[in-house]
Symmetry: C3
Subunit: 397 residues, 3 copies
């Protein structure tokens, strides 16, 4: 594909609200804005593959804040910043004075004098992560408006308690590439299904983000889970509304077989019940260690009752031509490999290994595109200028 293709599409979109903006939840973005992220991600990849540097910054920081362990998200964010010319400085709360009661507003400004982007992952506690991100973004906006900050750093949600936009948009861009574009998705069936895992407390942001985003493309999206594994109610409403608007369908079932039957895309993945995560958040707030242990035991027991919710070869056979596209945010709990019984059969996972890695490879580009769109008033013009400037990413012979 020539770069011009992406520029033409970008030129037709209304991106006026993205400039100097932030990225919290996909459903807060217009269809134009969502498409722009995909187009810019593809355009940046196009340039890099042709060894053309996409560095739009000669200096500037990308600040990362991870409230949970992270390998792939950390590398995705660093890769995205590096691709644009930003240097990552991690805000490690263990090492910083934040731990000693410093206010969010103050810290947000103190770390941002030369920051162009801030990526935050805060998915552990219900009702906390997303609101914390808004606190930070509000502080940065205020700091910029009052002249404290010379630029407005853009905040990228690297996973919160509600949505996981960089993951789900990477998943979606993968689908778009596999199916040859949005125009081929109408009527396709996608099953976002709970799957058994021997660990407990996996975040809800992926299933919630998937039903919140994938329902925007006229597909038939089915959310499947055992009774008791309900997701955050608001996200069901988002999915319903999206489906209605695009002429697609959205439904919830407690039957995995029903979800998989004839599916074009399957996304089997474990998560914890929203109600249990709400309870856990309260227990942590109360410092109730015994309560947390009791809840953990209860949840593991509840999980164990649903070992049949697994992406087996048998289930895969029931999908469209037995060849549904298998998705996962990785790492997956693979039966007989990473655990005795898990989310997916080893043979299924093996067959989809290369597509799964490609799915993941979109994430750095998605993050870079989100930053890019917040930094350029005229994204298409900037991309064109980068191509014209034609600096080699690797100056090698």
């Amino acid at each position: 594909m020539e770069l011009k293709h992406y520029l033409d599409r970008l030129g037709a979109l209304d991106l006026s609200k993205m400039y100097n903006g932030d990225f919290f939840l996909t459903w807060e973005k217009s269809d134009d804005e969502i498409e722009a992220v995909f187009q810019v991600a593809d355009a940046l990849r196009n340039l890099r593959e042709r060894n053309i540097s996409t560095k739009i910054f000669k200096s500037g920081l990308g600040v990362s804040l991870f409230r949970d362990n992270s390998t792939r998200t950390r590398f995705s964010f660093t890769s995205a910043c590096n691709l644009l010319g930003l240097c990552v400085q991690d805000l490690d709360e263990g090492k910083s004075q934040i731990a000693h009661g410093e206010t969010v507003r103050e810290t947000a400004n103190m770390i941002s004098f030369m920051a162009d982007a801030i990526g935050i992952r805060d998915d552990m506690y219900i009702g906390k992560g997303n609101s914390y991100m808004h606190e930070v973004a509000d502080a940065l906006t205020e700091g910029y408006q009052s002249g404290v900050l010379e630029q407005k750093p853009t905040l990228v949600n690297l996973q919160c308690d509600i949505d996981h936009p960089t993951q789900c948009m990477a998943d979606m861009l993968h689908i778009l590439h596999e199916f040859g574009g949005a125009e081929n998705l109408r009527g396709k069936k996608l099953a976002m299904s709970w799957a058994y895992s021997p660990s407990y407390g996996k975040p809800l942001s992926v299933p919630q983000g998937v039903i919140g985003l994938m329902t925007r493309f006229g597909m038939e999206v089915v959310l499947a889970h055992p009774e008791g594994y309900e997701v955050m109610p608001e996200t069901l409403g988002v999915a319903q509304k999206n489906a209605q608007k695009t002429g697609g369908k959205f439904s919830v079932t407690n039957n995995m077989a029903e979800a998989f039957a004839g599916a074009d895309v399957v996304y089997p993945k474990s998560w914890a019940p929203f109600a249990a995560m709400e309870q856990r958040t309260k227990l942590y707030e109360a410092g109730d260690g015994d309560g947390i242990k009791a809840l953990e035991k209860e949840l593991l027991g509840q999980n164990a009752a649903h070992k049949d919710w697994s992406c087996t070869e048998a289930f895969m056979k029931t999908t469209r031509d037995g060849k549904a596209l298998y998705l996962h945010c990785l790492p997956a709990d693979i039966s007989g490999v990473s655990c005795e019984a898990g989310e997916v059969d080893a043979s299924v996972f093996d067959r989809y290994r290369t597509p799964l890695y490609k799915e993941a490879s979109f994430k750095p580009y998605i993050i870079a595109a989100m930053i890019f769109l917040a930094k350029c008033k005229n994204p298409a013009g900037t991309l064109k200028a980068l191509e014209a400037r034609a600096r080699n990413r690797a100056f090698v012979e």
Copy 2:
């Protein structure tokens, strides 16, 4: 202000000793050298605000070594290095072989083969931090002279037991901006006052650095603290000498009201008595855990007897027109916010929030200026060349 303004000033200063030098204590620097740091800091900011890249390095490391937790200083140093094109590599003693008895001389050379700057924060123990920095700088000078190092990394004191030059110079540059230049400071009154905090053992480097620097501008500087909270005696001598030389005044009082009365600038901040910090250092050396606990208890008790030393609205009313410029190195202990009773009333702090953040925003530029001046024989010429080169910091449309 046009860049030419800064270049003209710089051109009139004798900076011959700054090239390939280090920055330990402000009072070791001539008036010309102090002014140069301010001029270069402002000039770098001028260029950045006009989206002109100030990257003077295409490659090179800035090494950071923090012997204490740090958020803002870490980000200031990283921002400064990034602004000049240096990549920060942290020397984490916890992870390094330093912890296992490696000599300072050897480590200093081993980490510096491609280092252009080294920033060290070491403020915990009296008589240690500054002398450690000299050990490092001496090793680097020797390494450079003997041909081991291809360049002489410049050492920047990011806080030691004696002075906190990057903080105090950022504070001073803020004062200069607020009052419209050094020529407007003659006769102005600055109160550097102890203030109550429920924590103990806060470093002395800020009050010592403030009286050591702010007495150079013809101001009336008053150091106020309760009896028993004396600072390092040598720094009193420095302040006295500075005041005499510039026709200003320097005095010490045990009366906060006296210090605040009619003040143009107030800097109320907690610190630990110098004598107690000396004692603590000895207890740590002796590994006397019980002694340390006893000292801590004693100091907290001593602090608690002075809760009336707080920057209240009532005290602020007594300053010049009730509108003295309130300074703090942050984070402050805010009464009713970060603690029950602390250094400052919440309403006072809130009113000065934006100026306080601006005060902090100078620090990355101060650090960058210190590095810049050690790297350029002709700083004005280099700044002029950067403006002429006119590379966009952000290449965006």
Copy 3:
């Protein structure tokens, strides 16, 4: 030396297999390839010393993975990456999901979407480090071939259980500089000798790497150690074969005096017996804490019986003209300085301090050369283009 000198040599070498390759063990490389690393290292240094930027990357990551504490290797790798324009992102297993059982293959791909180089230090367990590196490199090659990765990151062995190629090649380049070229090494005697240290369990990769590399230059290489301190048998075979091929000599002795007598180069250094390290690896696998403690006690006792194996002034007198070149990978255990009795007399170490630091200064260039050679089809052409491009590393006046 003019750059042309290095380019001419490079032009005469067969480097066809280095492009897109990895660097595991020196004896897996041809003589041409080994020489190329030296020539490129010197050429990069030549350019840097003339203030010419050697940045061949405008963006890209260098990933570091250290399974052991490290200061100098960490800084060497960061320096090398920085010199070429790569930004280092550390893969900290403590912080990452690797610790939770993620597979090597998956992680290798997930961190490499924008990685051009990966440096790994994994020297703790016999039979593990090198094989782990191969697992990673195989995964990256597969990822590249299947289109998951846009580029093939080159893997650099920063120390494994078998070899320490970046260290030994830095040592060798130092020898080449000290002796004025490979043509002057024929018949020179090098003593790689065990030396007493009060610590136990020092890695074998240095002595193994030294006998595996230094036997390629027609020298007489003597490996000396007390009975019971044998190295990995395979590496003896490598040394033997090298010596035969180049007309040099290789021998093993249990007599330090014999090794030092008339030596031109001495490398006295402690290491643990290979058999004991094998045993330790098994004890760790079995989680046998008591066994590990018992082994440690036994090894320390065994060491203590050989305190006379120390690089004393008396031993140094027996070398060629009493002036053999003293080598060490640092840090050394210096008698009376870092320990009561150790590997070397303080006066010997002091006399060689500057050469020792210079020896270490080659490592960043060696690492950079290894990466450079894996990235450039035409290394000489790229170096020439860098000189012609003539961008200042430091843009200062």
